[in-house]
């Protein structure tokens, strides 16, 4: 699962590890929800998936030679409410 997830590569991918939902964006990767790493084989499998995901994120960020201090977000425009 995590091997198909290329952090920051697109705006489309969503994967799940446990109840954690991981969303790919070009300027961020979001992890939402929760995950229980139980002390059993299932817990180990989830932990390894999480590890692979985070390793991929670290690798992608380290490979970015122009990594900014803080990512820049496009400011929302203000428009006249067409429905008012």
């Amino acid at each position: 699962m995590t091997e198909q997830f290329k952090p920051y590569a697109n705006e489309a991918d969503v994967i799940r590890i446990g109840d954690l939902e991981i969303e790919n964006r070009v300027d961020r990767v979001t992890l939402t929800g929760n995950i229980v790493l139980s002390r059993d084989k299932a817990g180990l499998a989830l932990a390894k998936e999480l590890q692979a995901l985070v390793e991929g994120v670290v690798k992608a960020l380290e490979a970015d030679k122009a990594l900014p201090e803080a990512v820049e977000v496009r400011q929302a425009q203000s428009v006249k409410n067409p429905f008012a």
Binding site: A12, R16, D27, V79, K80, P82
Partner: protein, 330 residues
């Protein structure tokens, strides 16, 4: 086979676009073509639908309470709208905001119990059945800082195909992340829990665009509020959660009638006015530890606890409603 044949034969090109759907192929055609010979088991449904007050034209009445689709009452909202019917929910999409104006679903206990496992992989995608100039694209949301917030959430759906369809941008609005992952997720969880308890709920969710100026990202309008209407057939009651689209941890509880005034859409046109006026005691948004709302047990011990201190009910007083009413000049 019969369904698709029937559907293609009788439905002319109209304002509504239908996706291939499993549940309501024949039902779609019924309100418009009552004189067609229909298989016997459907005659009862036909009679029922004819007896009900008229909603907007829809090709997927099964997703709506009493089979009646919401009716847009603010004419400015009506421009460039198109219904999109999915397997397990329906949206009315606006080519002006490039968001849904509502997304409607019928939650049942059986479906929620079948929805225990979510797909491991999904994909946000533009809605290819909408005209290119009217639909949101992934790039509209890119680098905006906003989440693509589901109106009908993927965790509600029993099948992989219905879950996958819920990632259509026709079902999304730009939503502040803390809101989407916080109180909104809590409202979604509480909604599922109530549907599990009661057996079924009709749910309509959507954005509100209130005020003289609105934010826009790419070509997509950012709602000022998001709301969720719950109709409980068991209680014969309906009510609505309303939250501002920001980092709020407060929500308001409105009657359907008040929300209808606020958003300019008659949301439950098939229900008696007294149900729309009366409001409903809404369950508290669930805590993030149990936001799937499936009443999980044995995972950390915090599952299922109402987050009484986390999310609080705000008194949405008459005066605030009146101010909104004046602002939107009804």
């Amino acid at each position: 086979m019969f369904r698709s044949f029937f559907f293609k034969k009788v439905l002319p090109a109209g304002p509504c676009h239908a996706k291939p759907s499993t549940g309501c192929g024949i039902l779609r055609a019924m309100p418009r073509f009552p004189s067609f010979a229909l298989p016997l088991p459907l005659l009862a449904c036909l009679a029922a639908s004819l007896a009900l007050p008229a909603g907007a034209a829809t090709q997927c009445p099964a997703h709506f309470a009493a089979g009646s689709a919401p009716v847009v009452t603010n004419p400015k909202l009506q421009a460039r709208t198109q219904e999109v019917c999915f397997e397990a929910f329906a949206v009315l999409h606006s080519g002006i905001s490039r968001t849904p104006l509502y997304s409607a679903e019928h939650l049942t206990r059986a479906n929620l119990e079948a929805a225990q496992d979510l797909s491991r992989k999904d994909s946000f995608h533009p809605e290819s059945s909408l005209p290119a100039q009217d639909r949101a694209e992934l790039k509209d949301y890119a680098r905006s800082g906003y989440d693509r917030g589901h109106m009908s959430p993927n965790a509600d759906f029993a099948t992989r195909s219905a879950q996958a369809e819920s990632f259509s941008l026709a079902n999304m609005v730009p939503q502040v992340h803390a809101n989407n992952a916080g109180i909104w997720a809590g409202i979604e969880g509480a909604t599922r829990q109530l549907a599990l308890q009661e057996g079924e709920l009709y749910v309509v969710s959507g954005p509100a665009f209130i005020g003289s100026d609105i934010k826009q990202i790419g070509r997509v309008l950012v709602p000022t509020h998001v709301w969720k209407v719950l109709y409980s057939p068991k209680q014969q009651r309906a009510g609505a959660y309303v939250v501002t689209n920001d980092e709020t941890r407060e929500y308001s509880s409105l009657s359907v009638a008040d929300l209808e005034k606020m958003v300019g859409i008659s949301l439950l046109p098939g229900l008696p006015q007294k149900v729309r006026d009366a409001g409903m005691e809404l369950p508290k948004p669930v805590s993030p530890h149990d936001r799937k709302g499936k009443g999980k047990k044995g995972q950390g011990g915090q599952g299922g606890q109402p987050a009484e201190e986390e999310f609080t009910l705000k008194d949405f007083s008459r005066s605030i409603l009146d101010a909104i009413g004046r602002a939107i000049k009804h």
